[in-house]
């Protein structure tokens, strides 16, 4: 009971924070920054407490709140924690204070408005993860767009208007289709079984013919695939990342992209199992294409933010591969990879932001020998690079290894029985992704850290205490997840099993469940 | 042709002349006058029908329309006058500020 209240508090704390900012004085930047940091840290502390209280042996929702909202439509305000979202909620809460602290020295214009935007995005992201009612989920999904749009558009780089409009329209387009699909889904549930409800737990019992399922999945998948992003719907990401301010990039890479994969895992695939089975070869091919395409493109970029942006596309390809493998090992790996990418990409973008503040350029060619100029910075950079490459003992390895193992495990039997060669071919290509990953990240490290020293506006100051603390926390989390993944995986295990069960059970009308 | 048909014919003629005028003429004030002509044509047909039914409804309606038309003209003419003062011409072609 108390936990349910705390969960609501965790959700609404950023909104309260935004409200507090509204009434606080406008030009006292320090006060604004501290207030934001305090609120975000409080949110993290409460989330950590809930994380500790989360019972791994209970399947289904914990700390649930269910209040009627729009009775006649069957819409409820329903939030709760389960294995699907526990790690992502933790990630969001963890990155909140880090984003805030990371932006201390880079944002000096309209600081209050900026942090209000950060709060609103945090609120929307938290809500999307916690929502168990499809209407509520959709509201939060859309709610995140406007603050992000403003953040990129106001505090962004040179081509920010183009980038932010592209981001907004692209994402909104997918969402509109998803709304249509949601409405149709609820409507068909009502006509077939008389239940009027937007609750996920009810919708998952709907029975739809394969044609309907396919169209609905296509609509959902489009929206989620744009968010992930999957190739070929990814072109908004490099532009958005490059033009966004550091905090925006960190939020985008750290959490926002996970909303797409979370959507697939929670809604897309479980709601339409038969269509998923039909589309799996295509989706899996796109996932592997994302892995390879993203890596290849990262190899030839000269803008350091673009390298990390394309690496995100590559990493999240692994997540999709894991989810589609329908093996417990792969699914668990996918969840870990989501969290790992969130940490590593957030860390790398924070580091790019730190060096940008000092040198004001994002061109790789403008840098060199940073290992000598800023050694402490270089150590953190190297650690995060290796985590991105998937070196064992880091979270990147845990995610990639389990995903690839799952993909292979799913692909081997059909191959041996001579039924289907594609999954194995895809799995082998995906494994080659580890080589490409090393190639582009080490090229980045080579040009960035080693060789003759070269950096605009040198001499450069090395990391200060605030920066070291932020990066230190991320690095600790990366190693914790890399060395001791057992504990987080306990928490997500039942959800992974439930996911597998839901996606492999046919729900065509007329078939027995 | 009996009286009703004659009157209706006249009403239609008035209306058509007015409509034609609105479409063809370029002078703003003339367009206004033609719109009034259309209105009168409609009123005439209304009076004709009212007389046929022999109820008071028709007559009441006619007087209502007179009042509204007067109010409308009272507003329209000053607006046109202000516009004309602005544009310094009565030619409708000059009034294309709403162009897309």
């Amino acid at each position: 009971m108390l936990e349910a209240l705390v969960l609501n508090l965790v959700l609404f704390l950023p909104l309260l924070g935004a409200g507090l900012l509204l009434v606080s004085p406008t030009d006292h930047h320090d006060f604004t920054r501290r207030l934001t940091l305090v609120v975000m840290s409080l949110q993290f502390a409460l989330t950590a407490w809930l994380y500790g209280r989360f019972d791994s042996s209970v399947a289904g929702l914990q700390f649930e709140t269910r209040l009627p909202w729009i009775q006649s439509w069957g819409v409820h305000y329903q939030i709760g924690l389960d294995g699907y979202n526990i790690l992502l909620v933790m990630l969001t809460a963890f990155l909140g204070p880090l984003v805030t602290a990371g932006a201390f020295s880079s944002i000096s214009k309209d600081v209050k408005l900026f942090y209000a935007m950060v709060f609103l995005i945090q609120f929307a992201m938290m809500g999307a993860f916690l929502a168990q009612d499809l209407f509520l989920f959709y509201v939060f999904w859309e709610a995140m767009l406007i603050p992000m749009f403003l953040m990129i558009g106001i505090w962004g780089g040179e081509r920010r208007i183009y980038a932010t409009i592209k981001f907004f329209l692209y994402t909104a387009f997918g969402s509109i289709l998803m709304l249509a699909a949601v409405i149709y889904l609820v409507y068909s549930l009502q006509t077939t079984s008389g239940i009027v409800s937007f609750a996920f737990a009810d919708l998952v019992k709907a029975r739809l013919p394969l044609g309907a399922q396919s169209w609905l999945l296509a609509a959902f998948a489009l929206s989620f695939a744009i968010k992930v992003p999957m190739v070929p719907l990814h072109t908004w990401l490099p532009d958005a990342h490059v033009e966004a301010p550091t905090a925006g990039s960190v939020i985008l890479a750290g959490v926002l992209l996970k909303m797409g994969t979370y959507g697939f895992m929670k809604l897309g695939f479980p709601l339409f199992p038969d269509a998923t089975a039909l589309f799996t070869p295509w989706l899996m091919s796109l996932a592997v294409l994302s892995i390879v395409y993203g890596a290849c493109l990262a190899l030839v970029q000269d803008d350091i933010k673009k390298i990390i942006a394309y690496s995100s596309i590559s990493h999240l390809g692994y997540v999709m591969l894991g989810l589609l493998s329908l093996e417990l090992v792969g699914i668990q790996g996918a969840v870990i990879q989501m969290v790992s990418h969130g940490l590593v990409a957030a860390g790398l973008f924070l580091m790019v932001g730190m060096i940008y503040e000092r040198c004001h350029t994002r061109e790789l060619a403008a840098y060199g020998g940073l290992a000598k100029l800023v050694p402490v910075y270089s150590v953190f950079f190297m650690i995060l690079t290796l985590a991105s490459v998937g070196l064992p003992t880091t979270s990147g390895f845990t995610g990639e290894f389990l995903v690839l193992l799952g993909a292979f495990k799913a692909a081997w039997p059909p191959f041996v029985l001579g039924l289907n060669h594609l999954p194995l071919v895809l799995a082998v290509v995906a494994v080659s992704g580890v080589v490409l990953g090393a190639l582009y990240m080490l090229r980045f490290a080579l040009g960035f850290l080693f060789g003759a020293t070269k950096a605009p506006h040198s001499p450069l100051s090395d990391l200060n205490t605030r920066e070291k603390t932020i990066l230190g926390l991320i690095v600790v989390a990366v190693f914790a997840l890399g060395l001791f993944p057992d504990e987080p995986m306990r928490k997500t295990e039942l959800a992974a099993k439930a996911y597998k069960q839901l996606v492999t059970t046919s729900r065509l009308p007329g078939r027995a469940p | 042709m009996d009286r009703t048909q004659l009157l209706l014919g006249l009403a239609v003629a008035l209306f058509s002349l007015g409509l034609l005028g609105v479409i063809v003429r370029r002078n703003v004030l003339v367009m206004l006058m033609c719109m009034e002509l259309m209105l009168n044509g409609v009123i005439l047909s209304l009076v004709t029908f009212a007389q046929q039914t022999a109820t008071t409804v028709g007559a009441v309606l006619v007087f209502l329309i007179f009042v509204v038309a007067t109010a409308e003209i009272a507003l329209a003419i000053p607006i046109v006058l202000l516009l004309v003062r602005e544009k310094r011409t009565l030619d409708l072609a000059a009034y294309s500020d709403l162009k897309g």
Partner: protein
């Protein structure tokens, strides 16, 4: 206890890495770094010795120690566990033993380097991962160590990163290793798929009781071997090792001679249970091994950098070890690993001593006449050279001779052809090693004048180690390692019909070794004039060999450039910009043009609007009249 052995070097890494570098503000001095950096590995070594005695006391029953559970998925559990049996004991002793002495050597060698603390931190990190590799129970733990030593190698090759070429060499090593690792991962996946576990002892015994029918052993064998090719620098993934010489010499000795590169051999030997049932894979290993040995030896003959000669020599010797593995003589391969660790480390450290004495000179064309000036270095180098050439009764002779014998006579794939190529390789080995010895130490000095003035013998921390390793190179062969390992790694059955050829072949090996010595003495004994004459006669061949068969260039042309072309032109410009962004921007432009067309209706002309209203009304009336 096993966990402690593994963790001690990690502690050294953390302490030195934080306190002795700029990360922690350079808080401690060289003595702290030395005590921690050398002391912890030595402590590890002593603990390994102790555990070895425990093992012996327990009748060599394998010791298993589980540290903790890494992950549990369904019913299969991934655990971090350590395993100590005869094979692990041998490997652990070499890793910690030779490792510790090289740490001690580094104290003297790196004494003037400003990143002294960082160097020892990285060395300790390497030792930690290497111990994980050899003591791990499951392929997962081995893989963690496998990748980890790759990391340490990357960091240490590029240690002097101000020169971009060094960092580039480190990157090359890591990436080429990764290619091998992809194969390794696939092999692991097949095994996991079949057995639900990655514990090597379980897998080996499963194959022993007939799993070969269910799982294609050769497929697994080849996949794991791909990993081994990467790590142990065999064709086609050998290209990183010569470039790795960019790192400081102790690194070359420790990582690229004695320990890391032998990880591939350890892997195959450890998984012998699989390879015993995989004749196709074993054949591939033997052929690749002997081909690499031959090819690398030919290149070593013409190299002019002292370290590059030794690097190619290492590749060649590793090839011979794989040859032994390929014909089923797993214990013999490990024997050669041990002896090779002794004499190759001695050679590399000796080279380091020479480089140190000459103030950085590495080109053997500018050496010579050092025999009297740095005698300890010379004598230890000479002993190690004789050992690698196979001169009896030094260590190399025993291990190499056994390899040649089994290559010839093993019923698991031995053949005269394999023996022939291997024997030729042995001849070339003796030749180029004595060439190296002659050109570096003997004859008239060809040194630059100011280099010659500063020639001095190395400090005791360096020469002491050299003497120890030279001693081990001399007597190391007398310890009958293959027989020690036999209960675990049985020696292959020898073809009965060929038994009588054992002694003649033994004599032939000795003849080959001395023939190589004699040839080298003849060509290089009187300075470089005869050699230069030969070089002119065979200019084309010489260019081909000096260019290492231009394999690096081939890879660049076949893989490197096409990959960049594909990524840049096809994916980036064509795919992303033209196709995808073009579609998007095209759709936006379409929208704008459509709006442009519609806007023409808004002419601002009231007449037109009125006309539209009229047309609309008429149309609506007609429609309703039609459909009434």
């Amino acid at each position: 206890m096993l966990t402690l052995i593994v963790l001690l070097p990690l502690l050294g890494f953390l302490l030195n890495g934080v306190l002795a570098t700029q990360l922690g503000g350079n808080r401690v001095g060289k003595s702290f770094v030395t005590i921690v950096g050398c002391g912890l590995p030595i402590l590890s070594f002593l603990l390994v010795v102790k555990v070895f005695f425990d093992l012996q006391a327990g009748g060599y029953a394998p010791l298993v120690e589980t540290a903790y559970r890494w992950a549990l998925v369904g019913r299969s559990s991934f655990e971090i566990a350590f395993y100590f049996d005869r094979l692990s004991a041998v490997m652990a002793l070499i890793v910690t033993g030779v490792g510790s002495v090289i740490h001690v050597y580094s104290v003297g060698y790196m004494a003037h380097d400003k990143s002294f603390g960082r160097f020892f931190a990285y060395l300790n990190l390497f030792l930690f991962f290497m111990l994980l590799l050899v003591l791990g129970r499951s392929l997962l733990v081995l893989f963690v160590g496998w990748e980890g030593v790759g990391l340490a190698s990357y960091l240490l090759i590029g240690f002097w990163f101000e020169d971009l070429a060094n960092a580039r060499a480190g990157k090359k090593a890591f990436v080429v290793n990764r290619i091998g690792d992809a194969g390794f991962l696939l092999g692991m996946f097949v095994l996991y798929q079949a057995f639900g576990t990655l514990n090597m002892d379980s897998i080996n015994s499963a194959f022993g009781i007939g799993a070969a029918k269910v799982v294609p052993a050769s497929l697994v064998g080849i996949l794991l071997f791909i990993g081994a090719t990467g790590k142990s620098a065999q064709i086609p993934l050998h290209v990183w090792l010569p470039d790795a010489m960019a790192g400081p010499t102790p690194v070359s000795a420790l990582i690229h001679a004695a320990t890391m590169v032998t990880a591939g051999i350890y892997l195959v030997a450890r998984m012998s249970g699989v390879y015993l049932h995989a004749p196709e894979a074993s054949a591939v290993i033997a052929v690749v091994g002997v081909a690499t040995a031959f090819f690398a030896a030919t290149v070593a003959i013409v190299q002019t950098d002292i370290k590059k000669v030794l690097a190619y020599s290492t590749v060649s010797q590793l090839g011979l070890m794989f040859l032994a593995l390929g014909v089923g003589a797993y214990g013999v391969a490990i024997f050669h690993v041990v002896t090779h660790a002794f004499f190759k480390a001695c050679l590399f450290l000796g080279a380091g001593s020479v480089i140190h004495a000459l103030g950085g000179e590495q080109d053997i064309r500018r050496m010579g006449g050092l025999r009297q000036r740095i005698p300890v270095t010379f004598w230890t180098f000479a002993i190690a050279t004789a050992a690698i050439a196979g001169i009896p009764p030094l260590a190399g002779f025993f291990s190499k001779d056994e390899i040649l014998w089994f290559a010839f006579a093993s019923t698991r794939g031995g053949s005269p052809l394999l023996w022939g190529v291997a024997a030729l390789t042995a001849l070339m080995t003796a030749f180029y090693m004595f060439r190296l010895l002659w050109l570096t130490f003997m004859g008239e000095s060809r040194m630059a004048a100011k280099v010659e003035a500063h020639v001095h013998e190395s400090p005791l921390s360096m020469t002491g180690v050299l003497m120890l390793l030279a001693l081990l190179s001399a007597v190391g062969g007398f310890f009958a390692l293959p027989h020690f390992l036999e209960p675990q790694l049985p020696l292959p059955v020898v073809d009965e019909a060929l038994h009588h050829l054992e002694k003649p072949l033994l004599v032939l090996s000795i003849v080959i070794a001395f023939a190589g010595l004699a040839a080298a003495a003849y060509v290089f004994g009187a300075g470089t004039s005869r050699a230069e004459g030969l070089q002119r006669r065979f200019a084309g061949l010489h260019r081909w060999l000096s260019g290492k068969y231009f394999i690096d260039e081939l890879y660049e042309r076949l893989i490197g450039r096409p990959l960049v072309w594909l990524s840049d032109f096809v994916f980036l410009r064509l795919g992303d910009r033209v196709l995808l962004d073009g579609t998007l921007n095209g759709l936006a432009a379409l929208g704008r043009r459509g709006a442009g067309l519609l806007v023409r209706l808004q002419t601002g002309s009231l007449h037109l609007y009125a006309w539209f209203v009229l047309v609309g009304i008429v149309g609506a009336l007609l429609w309703s009249w039609r459909h009434a």
